[in-house]
Symmetry: C2
Subunit: 351 residues, 2 copies
């Protein structure tokens, strides 16, 4: 019986560059162990990750738990204000925040294209480390797969996160009430336009950075001190799609005021040139927040204490349904415009 390895069928790792990820790095053998030990473990190091088991084992102090996941396929991988690594951590941290949870533990899974450079991988992993440490979460387990050249666009990253929720906190669309105030915690459209700019799809230069940021400290204080009814971050599909989903779920109508929308001039100009609606552009560092009218000032005071919340403002309110439209906007022209979901083909691979 011949127990030699299968070198006749697949090229030996020594025949390809050692500065690049090879198919063999995903095979479950020595090279995979080496990749994980050299690049992944040193960045994410913590006692739970160091268990190095099929999974991670930990204790949760509260029994009410939030869990969320996202795969990141953003193109390009690097852009003004961050890269796919920051997005992968901040996106999952913020989704946990929107559930009213304190983010605790994240997983990180990589699908890497054969030939991807170790240098870029290190850069991305270090960005993940920075974002994780900023938001106080640990990356406790993960997975690495390698696919043949041309079957991935460099790297795709999945993160999954768990967090704990205090018994008193209840964030749910059915808690949205008529006359609730709608607050946005930051400016609109910066992430999407920064990605289009990095893709050179604008045809002109804009001075815009992605707003990607972990919002858990700010939102944590908000949830602790205010009875937040509902929150969601307007990522893919932008403010328009997110509000339409919320309106449908809550059976209410949402009224926006155009003059209150914090859309940076550069975003507005870029959108006007491209013929797209800033309300359909993705955001990665702001959250839509529904609170009672009485809590509006207190909520804004808390948000304004944080860098990520310094531009927080009221942008609308909740009404009983007065027409077939779920979301309407009072415009500069003193009339009303229907804000619809966009159909979906606007900005692929924005996160």
């Amino acid at each position: 019986m011949k127990y030699n390895t299968m070198k006749a069928v697949y090229p030996s790792p020594t025949t390809v560059s050692e500065n690049k990820v090879q198919l063999a790095h995903g095979g479950g053998g020595k090279l995979m162990q080496q990749l994980i030990k050299d690049i992944i473990y040193p960045a994410f190091e913590n006692p739970i990750l160091n268990q190095a088991h099929d999974g991670a084992v930990f204790n949760m102090t509260e029994s009410k738990i939030a869990m969320t996941t996202d795969s990141f396929v953003v193109n390009p991988l690097f852009f003004n204000g961050g890269n796919i690594g920051n997005l992968a951590i901040n996106g999952t941290v913020n989704d946990l925040c929107c559930c009213g949870a304190t983010p605790r533990y994240l997983t990180a899974s990589f699908i890497i294209e054969e030939g991807f450079s170790f240098e870029k991988l290190r850069h991305i992993v270090n960005a993940m480390k920075k974002s994780a440490s900023e938001s106080g979460v640990d990356i406790i387990t993960g997975d690495t797969k390698v696919v043949q050249r041309g079957l991935c666009d460099g790297i795709y990253i999945n993160t999954c996160g768990v967090g704990t929720i205090k018994e008193s906190v209840s964030i749910s669309s059915d808690r949205i009430k008529t006359d609730d105030v709608l607050i946005i915690s930051g400016k609109i459209g910066e992430h999407g336009i920064s990605i289009l700019s990095a893709r050179n799809e604008l045809g002109f230069d804009v001075d815009i950075s992605s707003d990607t940021a972990p919002l858990n400290k700010m939102i944590g204080e908000l949830v602790e001190k205010i009875d937040v009814h509902f929150m969601r971050d307007p990522t893919r599909g932008g403010v328009a799609s997110t509000l339409n989903e919320i309106a449908e779920q809550s059976g209410r109508q949402i009224l926006l005021y155009e003059e209150l929308l914090p859309i940076p001039e550069a975003v507005n100009n870029a959108c006007e040139m491209l013929g797209i609606d800033p309300l359909c552009v993705a955001n990665e560092g702001c959250i839509l927040i529904f609170v009672s009218k009485e809590d509006e000032k207190k909520a804004l005071d808390i948000l304004h204490k944080y860098e990520a919340g310094k531009n927080a403002c009221r942008i609308g309110e909740v009404r009983n349904v007065t027409s077939v439209a779920n979301v309407i906007m009072h415009t500069y022209m003193d009339n009303y415009r229907v804000i619809d979901h966009f159909s979906g083909e606007q900005l692929p691979r924005i996160c």
Copy 2:
């Protein structure tokens, strides 16, 4: 200000086949909602998923929790004994089992290639539903991304799972003791060979199905009744790589007996033709189990009650380190062979 959508830049969804996933299905708008409502929700339906929030909120009855994740990039997507959907559920369920946990909740994230057929997607999602229901877990949240044609091999799936661990259970490589018995719960090499066969890389027909199966009921009973010291499933890298990692972590030597290895004749024949070692071939439905000598019979009696465990047997034992080799095998020829990690290039994209 022109608030029209960006049809000039990306093709309208009406111009491509309606039986296939379009880029617009990943855009966060109406089409994405429709894809999720038509295909994903009906299959996975459960009260937590139906919250339809950025994440899922649930209560855990025990504070000791296991969490694990895996991305599945298997090629081909469909093979004898299952498809990528079964693998994605069973793989994560089994990783939780190996931590001594009762699997509870899973997430499911899809990266789909533009042009992938709805029919195949439904087939895969239904396989996930079947595996999830077989193992009694709920899929409670997820994510869908679509990438351009040629930037994914049809579909990649990530699952992440959480489970609860009883306080009395402690599965850890540092609990492996000298003279412990090594049991394998099923036959060796079936998954890997069934994948190679589906790729037509064997050049001949073999009558082998993947062993993919959720093992939580069987392993649950085992952990409840026996003090299991350590468990891991020998997936990528096979029995050889998994045992080498375990030996390193535990600081012990593992001795296998060639005559005890449950390698099906068809696997042996295929491996001999290809010049690969069955011990390096991936498995998806069996687990390596370390228990004390005294518990061997009781453990085997439990395993044999289950279909997935009917071929369970002792294959080796734990020794003090007697040489530089971590894993050695007593062969049919009455000598000893070193069983090394394989270097990694043997069988890419096996799971």
